[in-house]
Amino acid sequence: MYRIRLDQFEGPLDLLLFFIKRDEINIYDIPISRITKEFLEYVNLIKVLDLEIAGDFILMASTLMHIKVRMLLPREIDEKGEEIDPRAELVQRLLEYKRYKEMSEELSFFESETRKLFWRGNFEHDEKEAPPEYEVLLKNVSVYDLAKVFKNILMKATKKEPVHEIKKMPVTIDEQIEYIMAKFESFNELHFLSIVTGMREKIRIVVTFIALLELVKMGRLGLRESSNFNDFVMYKLNNGTTV
C-alpha cells in the first residue's frame, strides 16, 4: 500500500480522485468494492491521526458503503427505462470537484505572479491640501463587518456580570428635611409635586419623600388629600397642631 500524506488531501473527493488516477481507473466504471476498501483504510488512518477532517471522510465512507450495497441490488430504472448506475452521482461530483480544483491551481498561479509585484509602500508623505474637515462615511465596511461588530457587542454585553453597585446617595434625609422646611418658611401649605418638580434623579425624589414622612412622624408637617389624585397637600404643624 502506498503511504500518502493525508493532510495533503483537501477532502474525500480529492482522495478519491487520487485513487482513480493512481490506479488508472476508468472513472465511469469505478470498482466500488475495491475503492471503498481502500478508502476505509485511509479513514482508519485519519482516525488514528485524529485529523480534524475525519468527519467529512467518514461521511464519504458511508456514501461509498451505500453505493456498494446498491450495486448488489437489482438496478433501479429511470423514467427513460434505463438502468441507473448507483455510482453516477458520485462520478458527477468527482468531475465537478476536479473542475474547481483545476481552477484553484489557476488561482494559485495568479497568486504567485501577483506576489512578485509590490505596490507602492508609502503614501502618507504625498503633498496634499488638507481636507477641510474630517467627515465620516462608509468605506471598506461590509455586511460582515457590521454583523461581526454586533456579535462582539452582544458578547461584551452578555459577559458583563450583573454588578450590584452600592452608590453613595447624592442626598441625605437630613438635607431634604432642611430643604422642605426651607420651603415652608414662606408657605403654610404646599403640594408635594411642587417641591419635587425639577428634581433630576429619582433617588432625590425618594429621599425627599422619606424626609417628608420623617417630618410627619416628628409632628412638624401634616398631610391631606389634594383635589388632584396624583398629588397631596402638606401643611405646617406646630408640635402636632395646625399653625
Partner: protein, 217 residues
C-alpha cells in the same frame, strides 16, 4: 556600483512602507547577491540623486525625498490640490469604529432608542447618532411608548443600498456569524461528534454487506 542597482534601489524605495534607510538597501542587495557586492551609502545617495534628476528631466509627477535618515517617494507639491480633493473624498467614506458599532446596533435592534444603544455600547452615543443621521444611514422612526417617549431610530434605504441588501432581514443573523466565526477547536470537536455517529452506522453496514470490506485494519 553596478548600473542594475539603480533600478533595484528605485524599486526598494518605491515599495517600502516607511522611509528606507541606506543600510536596509545594502542589506537586501547583500542578502540576494552576496556580501561581496560593493555598495556604500554614498553610492545609494548618488543613485537617488540621479533618479531625481531623471524624474525632473522626464517631468514625472513624483520625486524621492530624504526623510528621517531614509528615502521615500512623494508626489510633487503642484498636484497637492488634486490629491487633497481625492483624499477628502475618500476620508468621507470612512466610518469610525464608534459609528460602525452604533450602526450595527441600530441595524439589528431597530427601532431602538438612544438610551438602549448607549446601554449596549456602554458609552454616550450622541455624537455617533448625529453623524449617522447626517449621513442618512439612520433616521428617526417615531417615538417609543415608554416613559419620556424617547425617539426611535432605524436604518434607511441608503443603508440598504450601501450594503447591497434588499431588506433588513437579509443581514446575517448573529447565529450565522457565530457559525462562520467558530474557531478551529470548536470545529474539531463538532467533527469528532459527527465522526462517532457516522462510524457506528458504517460498522453496521460493513457487517451487513459482508465481503472483504471488513478486513481493513
Amino acid at each position: 556600483m553596478e548600473q542594475l542597482y539603480n533600478s533595484v534601489i528605485e524599486a526598494l524605495i518605491f515599495a517600502s512602507d516607511e522611509p528606507l534607510k541606506p543600510a536596509e538597501i545594502i542589506r537586501a542587495i547583500h542578502g540576494i547577491d552576496g556580501e561581496d557586492v560593493e555598495i556604500t551609502p554614498g553610492d545609494i545617495d548618488a543613485a537617488v540623486e540621479l533618479l531625481n534628476e531623471r524624474y525632473s528631466l522626464e517631468s514625472h509627477a513624483f520625486t524621492i525625498m530624504r526623510v528621517a535618515e531614509g528615502y521615500l517617494y512623494s508626489t510633487r507639491q503642484q498636484f497637492a490640490k488634486y490629491l487633497g480633493f481625492l483624499s477628502s473624498e475618500k476620508s468621507k467614506r470612512r466610518l469610525s469604529q464608534a459609528a460602525l458599532e452604533t450602526l450595527a446596533i441600530v441595524a439589528y435592534k431597530q427601532p431602538i432608542t438612544k438610551p438602549e444603544v448607549e446601554s449596549l455600547r456602554g458609552v454616550n452615543s450622541d455624537y455617533t447618532i448625529n453623524t449617522l443621521l447626517e449621513k442618512n444611514l439612520i433616521a428617526i422612526a417615531g417615538r417609543s411608548e415608554t416613559i419620556g417617549r424617547p425617539i426611535l431610530y432605524s436604518t434607511t434605504e441608503e443603508f440598504l443600498r450601501y450594503f447591497g441588501l434588499n431588506k433588513i432581514s437579509d443581514l446575517p443573523k448573529p447565529r450565522e456569524i457565530e457559525e462562520i466565526m467558530q474557531d478551529e477547536d470548536f470545529l474539531e470537536q463538532k467533527r469528532k461528534l459527527l465522526m462517532n455517529a457516522v462510524e457506528e452506522n458504517l460498522e453496521k453496514s460493513m457487517e451487513s454487506s459482508g465481503e472483504d470490506a471488513g478486513t481493513t485494519e
